[in-house]
């Protein structure tokens, strides 16, 4: 995936802020505070997330995809009327 770079303990994610609102991303990061330490940067319309894995219980790949799914569910519940 172009917008996902997964290292051993660190992952970089590029998200379109029109698709993933910043406020929802921040809230999801707060909820994943025990799993990741995060920094957010904004370049043009993109949010650049750098996540450092804190927990040793889960793999970085699994934690990242779980985070993305959680984020999507949050956005759907907030924005989606359907």
């Amino acid at each position: 995936m172009r917008n996902l770079k997964i290292g051993k303990r660190r992952v970089e994610i590029k998200l379109n802020s029109n698709l993933y609102p910043q406020i929802a991303v921040e809230k999801a990061l707060m909820d994943f505070g025990e799993v990741f330490s995060a920094t957010i940067d904004k370049v043009d319309e993109n949010l650049l997330l750098t996540l450092n894995l804190n927990s040793k219980k889960v793999s970085i790949e699994e934690a990242t995809y779980n985070f993305l799914n959680y984020l999507l569910a949050e956005i759907k519940n907030e924005i989606g009327k359907v």
Partner: protein, 142 residues
Amino acid sequence: MIVSVNPKIYPLEIIYSAAYVFLDKGYILIDGNPEEEIFVQIKPKNKKENLEKLGNEFNNELVNYAVYVVQASRNQPLRKAIIERVLLTNTIEDEECPECKEEESKKEEENFIVDDPLGIAKPWSPPKETENEKPKNREKKG
């Protein structure tokens, strides 16, 4: 698996809803331009999952939610009218029509009166004595 979606046909909320259904089956990442083209990346959790089938199911979910949105917008005035009617009916009875309550209580009392052609339904306690019927021996002798 990457599914390309035209946001002019399927608005963003429909894409979110369709993707939401797939959260159990796979990992979802949405990308692209919301005004031109949106890419939905689906990575199946189960590696044996058929990718083409997964993509087709996603397309079906898009249609499913699109139809739902259209029907919901068509029915919205009707749903609104029904709910307004329900709420208004309650407020009229409670606040604006005290006479209706009196009529209802009268009707309830009437319903308690039972037909009694044989005269069975009599009170068990003896009838009260009127002043004229009082026994004379109780009168004081002067």
